[in-house]
């Protein structure tokens, strides 16, 4: 599941499962909502229980959209095996972790 909140940053809240079954819809949502943004993106995965490579594509899209707008993309709340997925995939080399 995905929710996007516009506050001091854009908060992209990912929860439950993000996999091949729902990643295309989530990617479409971020593509529509995060174009020409004027603030940074924080991807909150504290409620995310499972992410696969399809789900990582959604995160990658967020990072690319931030980069295109010369903004930064942060990752918040990664834990357990979900965090390991971000580590082994190399995503923590371009996503800054936020407490």
């Amino acid at each position: 599941m995905i929710e996007i909140h516009k506050e001091e940053n854009f908060f992209v809240v990912l929860s439950q499962r993000l996999d091949a079954m729902n990643a295309d819809d989530a990617k479409e949502t971020v593509t529509q909502e995060l174009v020409d943004i004027d603030r940074n993106i924080v991807i909150d995965v504290s409620g995310l229980e499972y992410i696969s490579s399809a789900g990582l594509q959604v995160v990658l899209k967020c990072a690319k959209l931030a980069q295109e707008s010369h903004k930064e993309c942060f990752l918040k709340g990664a834990h357990g095996t979900v965090k390991e997925i971000f580590q082994v995939s190399g995503f923590l080399t371009f996503l800054k972790e936020m407490e």
Binding site: D19, Y50, S53, Q57, V88
Partner: protein, 118 residues
């Protein structure tokens, strides 16, 4: 077809994990590597069906076979240097290799056969 296959795999693995009381981390790994391979089979091959066997021994052993030519899905992802260089797709097999203890492929009697241990 892909979504239905993944749903069926999920149900099968849920039952398997419960039956063998696997912890959450191990169950995640088994689910992830299986889902990634099944997704790639339907995305990149002509196969319409596959055979999946999962065994709980010293490790979790996963066998996945499907009718095919000798196309091997186990191509490594190029090293990522920069965000702009990361192409969409291609991460799945990298995750499979990263999250398994062993990962092998062979082609025999018109079937592609993957053997993984987690």
């Amino acid at each position: 077809m892909t979504f239905r296959a993944i749903e069926e795999v999920d149900r099968y693995l849920d039952t398997f994990c419960t039956k063998h009381t696997l912890n959450d981390d191990l169950c995640y790994r088994v689910r992830l590597v299986t889902e990634e391979l099944v997704t790639n089979i339907f995305k990149y091959t002509e196969a319409q069906t596959f055979d999946l066997t999962v065994r709980c021994l010293e490790d979790i052993e996963i066998d996945l076979a499907y009718l095919s030519n000798s196309f091997d899905l186990t191509v490594r992802k190029p090293e990522q240097k920069d965000l702009a260089d990361i192409k969409e797709g291609g991460l799945g097999l990298f995750l499979v290799e990263s999250m398994t203890k062993t990962f092998s492929y062979r082609h025999h009697n018109g079937k592609s056969i993957y053997k993984l241990t987690v």
